[in-house]
């Protein structure tokens, strides 16, 4: 799997008096088995960017290559692309429409032209992956809880056997349990299924916890790109564009003011805890 954006720009309402630039010269390469988080303020172009990935939006400028091929080619199969680049929209539970959970999950793979037997198998497997038990397969999706609905909707995309899973704010509007469930699900898909994951988030702690690479968008441009430990060093810059850093980084900053020193500020809670324990024990040993 490889997805490359080459100098991509996007303008809404081109040619009208309400022209608005959503993406500005975005170049980006997503490689096999990456776990990427995209952060940025509302209106910075994040949602437009992910819709460019699977051809739902045509870039006004630049080219998108999926596995080496230009997706704007006439003979490029858009439907197949949407199966390979699985996109889960914001509040995906709003798209559930079938009478039963299993039927809804079968919708996607059914559209992909898989054999009926495969469609069923993929649907069952996807529901199992997202942790929806057999007892819920034949109930109406509308009676499920918020977190369950969200997972069913994600299963609906997973069942298409995508090579990369792209999620637009998958944790939005969920309670803490629901958030943890989705986060654990993404980690599981990444680790156990070897999937490439790309998700949009507003929660810096969650981003720091799971992502291997963080992209920061501002006004339609990608302004920072790198591992969380690197990106979150730019505290001032992030705050300037209306974003923050994980609390761990803030804490590390306060500790530095009091004389601690870090070679690289820890970003996850675990790293921070380990760092503190080490310093604590080290201090004890000295005395």
């Amino acid at each position: 799997m490889s997805l490359i954006l080459d100098h991509v720009g996007y303008i809404y309402g081109k040619g009208t008096n309400e022209e608005k630039r959503a993406l500005d010269d975005v170049s980006l390469e997503i490689k096999e088995h990456e776990f990427i988080a995209l952060i940025g303020r509302t209106g910075s172009g994040k949602s437009t960017l992910v819709q460019i990935f699977n051809g739902l939006e045509q870039p006004s400028e630049g080219t998108v290559y999926f596995n080496g091929r230009d997706i704007s080619d006439k003979d490029f199969n858009k439907r197949e692309l949407r199966g390979k680049v699985g996109l889960v929209f914001q509040y995906p539970e709003h798209q559930l429409f079938e009478e039963t959970v299993i039927k809804d999950v079968q919708f996607g793979p059914g559209n992909m032209g898989f054999r009926p037997l495969d469609v069923e198998m993929y649907a069952f497997q996807a529901l199992k992956d997202v942790g929806i038990g057999d007892e819920l397969l034949d109930v109406s999706p509308l009676v499920l809880s918020g977190g369950q609905k969200r997972r069913v909707a994600i299963a609906g995309v997973l069942a298409m056997q995508p090579e990369i899973l792209v999620l637009d704010e998958p944790m939005a509007g969920l309670d803490p349990v629901g958030r943890r469930e989705i986060l654990a699900l993404l980690q599981k898909l990444y680790r156990e299924k070897g999937m490439t994951i790309f998700f949009i988030s507003h929660n810096m702690e969650e981003v720091a916890e799971v992502a291997g690479r963080v992209l920061v968008m501002d006004k339609g441009k990608i302004v920072l790109d790198g591992p969380p430990a690197k990106v979150f060093q730019y505290q001032k810059e992030l705050e300037q564009i209306g974003l923050g850093v994980p609390q761990t980084v803030t804490l590390a900053g306060h500790l530095e003011e009091r004389g601690w020193s870090f070679s690289e500020k820890p970003v996850t809670v675990h790293e921070m805890a380990a760092e503190i324990l080490e310093k604590w024990n080290g201090g004890k040993n000295d005395s």
Binding site: R79, R82, L87, V88, P92, F107, M112
Partner: protein
């Protein structure tokens, strides 16, 4: 896609016409539309066209934008023009098989087409320069005498403004769900009518669910703010007549007088 549809048709601009009281605009438009039925002379149409152009100029709406309103009735326009051209009795000018083109037919075609066009354009000036909210507020005030007969004027106006307010929201929602289903491989374009209708299901069902949810939310929000119908309700921005509104009234009357004089004293 669906986002290209513009409903409500409001054209944002700063102009005298935009600032007029919606009641004046509604009544003025009605007077203008009725006036179009009061004469059968070309000079009358010339006066009506001039008046339209004058108001259009004041409203700062581009001409090309205002004639967009004609697109939906284009077929009907051609059809009525055609009927009038061939099925009017009178002095025959040209004969094509069983069809006859008469002198009266040509006149009638011109009259009726012009009248239709001016009716639509006149009404569109109003919708182009008045926000839907103002429009319903104006309607409510104009119809308020009907309250004596227990007509639910306020409720109807409220329903109208809610419906108008929800159009863009539902269009956006439709777009979102459409895209979400397309991301799952749904196809809304190909196939015959039956197939297309069936393919609409993944779009229509979630849309209804969401519309009902929104309706419920709105009802609760209104309840939470103690909404209990129109009784004793005041407006945040009450409508009142300003100087330009009175000027507009005079201009309307001037138009009527000018129209009367042209039709009365000019030969054609």
């Amino acid at each position: 896609m669906i986002r290209d549809i513009t409903i409500g048709q409001y054209y944002t601009a700063e102009s005298v016409i935009h600032r007029l009281d919606p009641r004046i605009k509604i009544v003025g438009t009605l007077i203008y539309m009725i006036s179009l039925f009061l004469f059968h002379k070309m000079s009358g149409y010339a006066a009506a066209i001039l008046f339209f152009l004058f108001v259009l100029f004041l409203s700062r709406v581009p001409f090309s934008f205002s004639v967009r309103g004609l697109r939906p009735i284009f077929l009907m326009l051609i059809f009525t023009a055609f009927l009038n051209l061939f099925w009017t009795e009178g002095e025959v000018l040209l004969r094509i098989g069983a069809l006859e083109i008469t002198k009266e037919g040509i006149w009638k075609m011109a009259y009726i087409s012009l009248r239709l066009i001016l009716l639509i354009l006149g009404a569109s000036i109003m919708t182009l320069t008045t926000t839907p909210n103002d429009l319903t507020a104006g309607m409510e005030r104009l119809l308020s005498p009907l309250k004596i007969f227990h007509a639910p004027v306020h409720e109807i106006a409220m329903m109208m403004s809610i419906a108008l307010r929800f159009i863009p929201i539902l269009i956006e929602e439709t777009n979102r769900i459409m895209k979400a289903q397309m991301a799952r491989g749904a196809d809304f374009e190909s196939g015959n009518i039956l197939r297309k209708l069936k393919n609409m299901l993944p779009l229509v069902l979630p849309l209804f669910v969401s519309a009902l949810r929104r309706a419920n939310d709105l009802a609760q929000a209104m309840d939470a703010r103690c909404y209990h119908g129109g009784k004793g309700r005041t407006r945040m921005y009450p409508l009142y007549f300003k100087g330009i509104d009175i000027v507009a009234c005079f201009i309307c009357m001037l138009y009527l007088a000018a129209l009367y004089l042209t039709v009365r004293f000019l030969p054609i």
